[in-house]
Amino acid sequence: MCGIVGLYLKNEALYSQLGALFKPMLIEMTGRGPDSAGVAIYRDPVADDQVKFSLAHESSEYDWTSLAANLGNALSCRADVTQRDTHGILTTSGAEKDVQQWLADNAPDIRVVGSGSSVEIYKETGLPEQVYERFGLESAQGRHMIGHTRMATESAVTTAGSHPFATGADLCLVHNGSLSNHNRLREELKRKGVTFGSENDSEVAAAYLTWKLRQGVSLKDALEEALDDLDGFFTFCIGTSDGFAVLRDPIACKHAVLAETDDWVAMATEYRAIATLPGAEQAKVWEPRPATVYAWGAETLDGMAANASEHADQGAA
């Protein structure tokens, strides 16, 4: 099972309602994934010389203020943190590598769940509605969000095993399905220096993309190479700084539906997650074809700036 959802607002007038529009989408997928939930929201980009980290700790009592102060002193950089339940959103002028190293050395119980200029990743175990409310996402503003509700199959129900998984700066992945060759692929990626935070199969897919992107491969090419290298069932939704992309495995085992109006583009595992959006009944609704990369607003996809209208005429709801 598992449910995935994505929403990209084309109409700027709706940006202020992003969190409210997204909430029923995620909650509608509770039946597909009651174990844990997570979202990535793209908002409030930091200045060019800064990095935004999404950090997580087991306890919602963690002293984030001291952490930021110590980090700022140690690296002689600006470091501001906003706490949201178990997560801290750290904005810093420190170099990304130095900050990660400092955190690993001085705050090993902190997990880095994402980084970039605008992405914020929040994920926790529990019902999607509870998770959404814990992080105060209903009032969130922004252009796009992706989310995941998890029914665990391949690994334990933990926060570390929850989606989304970061795959690089402002990039993250949510996955519906299961991968068969994740153990071997994880070992290969470890030998190449990629680190892992869980035994989760989807994290391996994210790590695979991270590694490909580090080699300078474009996201579009990385996704197409994933079709050869990942064995298993998958529908992926990949959040980027500009939008999101969708990819299904070549036999399209896992459900997926896309819908588009003049105001928004949405993807979901099931249409019912889209049905609550304004104008959904009049939306163009279709099913993404297998082994085909779809993308919206994703300049990072190289040559796929906007989804080609031909896609909309193929496949079905």
């Binding site: 459900h255 539906v257 019912r272 009944e281 099913e287 193929q314 496949g315 079905a316 709801a317």
Partner: protein
């Protein structure tokens, strides 16, 4: 006309009401409003009703249908009219995967496109698609007809038994033991009847016929050593 609002009464109340109607009823016209993509709407009907669903539906809509005519004013999710026995199911938009799967009888009309595995293991159902079908359609199709006015995806009719397939557009590839077959006057008549019953206007001459080469499902004594 009996009207039920899905958001007010919910799935169970709707299906209970439709399933409770007996064949002799005079109360044949039903409308379901605000389906909001929910699953299993109008399943298991066994009466000559006319059910009009006003909006997009989720998975398994009109499953196991007998006698009723179910019209969906929108798109349908996975498993539309699964295991239909008789009657008519019509979707005005697109249908997701496995539409008409294992259907024993009746007519399924998809005015838009159908996704993959349309008519998988069909057992007597007739399926008419105004647009295209995805990969592995009519997989292991046993009996019945599938008419595709657009194109067919990869592996059409893989491991097919005796279902008869008609495709007007291109076929990306044929599955194992599925071959193109001669279109006789008798087939043209069958096709014309299906298109007329489906209210889909398409020239019979534009279609080609596909079916089983009958090499895969017949026991061949020359191959006995291979079993």
């Amino acid at each position: 006309m009996n009207t039920m609002d899905f958001q007010e009464v919910g799935l169970r109340e709707i299906n209970r009401a439709l399933q409770a109607v007996d064949s002799l009823t005079n109360s044949r016209e039903w409308a379901i409003e605000n389906p909001m993509g929910q699953h299993a709407i109008a399943c298991g009907i066994n009466a000559p009703l006319s059910v009009h669903i006003k909006g997009n539906v989720g998975f398994y809509c009109a499953g196991m249908n007998q006698q009723a005519e179910v019209i969906i004013d929108g798109h349908a999710g996975v498993g539309l009219a699964e295991n239909m026995m008789s009657g008519i199911v019509r979707v005005k938009g697109n249908a997701s995967q496995s539409a008409g799967a294992t259907g024993h009888g009746g007519l399924l009309v998809i005015e838009g496109d159908a996704s993959s595995r349309c008519g998988i293991s069909m057992k007597g159902i007739d399926i008419v698609v105004g647009g295209s079908v995805g990969h592995m359609s009519a997989f292991m199709g046993q009996v019945g007809h599938m008419v595709v006015c657009g194109d067919a995806g990869e592996a059409l009719g893989d491991s097919i038994y005796e279902a008869k397939l008609y495709v007007a557009g291109s076929v990306e590839s044929l599955g194992a033991d599925c071959i193109e077959k001669e279109m006789t006057a008798e087939h043209e008549q069958t096709l014309a009847d299906l298109l007329e019953r489906s209210q889909i206007n398409k020239s019979v001459q534009s279609f080609r016929r596909y079916g089983s080469a009958r090499k895969l499902y017949n026991f061949d004594i020359d191959h006995a050593d291979e079993y």
